[in-house]
Point group: none
Chain length 274, copies 2
């Protein structure tokens, strides 16, 4: 659940949860309280003792000609769950659009430049975690740049959440994150099937989700896999657990009362700060 | 506090203060009322006797490829605390983005042009105060233009608030504001340390903040220094005082109920009108 609710400010969280519970009568107030606690654990306490940046500097790699919403939701979500600074690294044309969604974001129009990798690399020392994939698209040149950015992030041991078309890249080149235990993959059902069959060269047995998620994580060298669904199935290759989700996350943000809610593809929680 | 609350409209101020007080039980209702009074003193009374512009025409120098939010927050904050007109002088590419944040701003895409200095200079006679630095970045060509703009503002005795990367420029070239008593520097802790060590060529003794702020102000020839922190420490080189701040400003605006709250680096109050 933390993965799903991480991006919500406590008040918005309560609103969305109430709605979710009204849709899922079987859940108890106790469940709701437990969920609040999970959310509370994610949000850093407000304090005047810290300076700006100490509670998280997050980078989002994505945003292209077609897709500008997903990287915005990922970046603003990081701020709403407690991070201090959110950077978006996107294509030149996507940048002014993403900037215009919120003055709180720092947007770098570099992802389609010839120096994309070095342009992003020079910011890496200042970032605690990277989210790769929201609104990335499947343009070969962009994916090639993202490949270089992933390599540079691994070289610096920066935690990386890979989602959406970042997962498409991994399905093509699993070695990119093979054995990198600071990677978290957040596939939905379709993305998971593609990854599973690409990595294990084996048809997916959908009757055993836990087993499949465990196997994929192990095959990738203990990369954390979060398969999103009505239940999230999460494995680090050693253990596997399933968490009920009460949020209709297939729903587009615009259809939800929490207007700043990120789309399913961007509801990933930044890993703990290093 | 005025420095911190200057940008808030009275109602938003009350909301933020309530929240701040709920986080800081030790503060009394009396403190709160005193703070309201400070804020009231900043906001000019609404009157039909004045024409648009008499209550303040403010210029913001900043806004570049990466940063567009900070100059917006500085400019809109000036309007919210009672100024009539806010001009932003930024780079060509940043301008449409900053314009898109609010139709209330007047945005000039001139900061990276070869005539940047004369383009800004021709507006100076119409401005009561300049805020230099929010979202400026550290590009050498831009800093060179800002240097010229500062010289032109001093020649016209225009009050200047220097913040963010404007303080980076001052740390490189302290002579730029040496002895200019109409300058107000608003460093956070990191910016203050950099300035202190650049100007006094002396390691900062963080056990004596008041003494350090007083010394820096004196070394710069009685420039007003406002060191932002849990307590703001303010000195004009003659006296020094500390004001409690009850706002958790390390937090990104998106996490706050006052959605127009500026980022820490832009929470500077324009100096009194001349």
């Amino acid at each position: 659940m933390a993965v799903r609710l991480g991006w919500l400010a406590p008040r918005a969280c309560r609103r969305v949860l109430k709605r979710a519970f009204s849709l899922h009568k079987e859940h108890s107030i106790k469940d709701m309280e437990n969920t609040f606690q999970l959310v509370r654990n994610i949000v850093p306490p407000l304090t005047t003792k810290k300076h700006k940046g100490q509670d998280g500097r997050i980078g989002i790699v994505g945003g292209c000609q077609e897709y500008t919403g997903a990287p915005y939701f990922a970046a603003i979500s990081a701020l709403k769950v407690g991070a201090d600074l959110s950077h978006v690294f996107c294509t030149r044309e996507a940048a002014p659009v993403i900037k215009s969604y919120s003055p709180e974001l720092i947007v770098h129009p570099v992802l389609d430049s010839p120096d994309a990798v070095s342009e992003v690399e020079k910011w890496l020392p200042r970032l605690h975690a990277l989210v790769v994939g929201p609104g990335l698209g499947r343009d070969d040149a962009l994916l090639e740049n993202v490949k270089g950015i992933l390599e540079a992030s691994k070289a610096r041991a920066i935690p990386v959440v890979i989602d959406a078309d970042g997962l498409w890249l991994i399905a093509q080149q699993p070695l990119l994150i093979q054995g990198y235990e600071k990677a978290v993959l957040t596939p939905n059902y379709m993305e998971f099937s593609r990854l599973f069959e690409a990595v294990l060269r084996d048809p997916l047995d959908s009757s055993d989700r836990r087993g499949a998620v465990l196997r994929l994580s192990q095959a990738l060298g203990n990369v954390t896999v979060v398969q999103k669904g009505e239940q999230d199935v999460i494995s680090d290759g050693k253990q596997v657990s399933a968490l009920s989700s009460w949020l209709p996350l297939a729903r587009a943000p615009s259809q939800d009362s929490a207007t700043t809610k990120p789309s399913r593809s961007t509801a990933a929680r930044p890993p703990p700060l290093t």
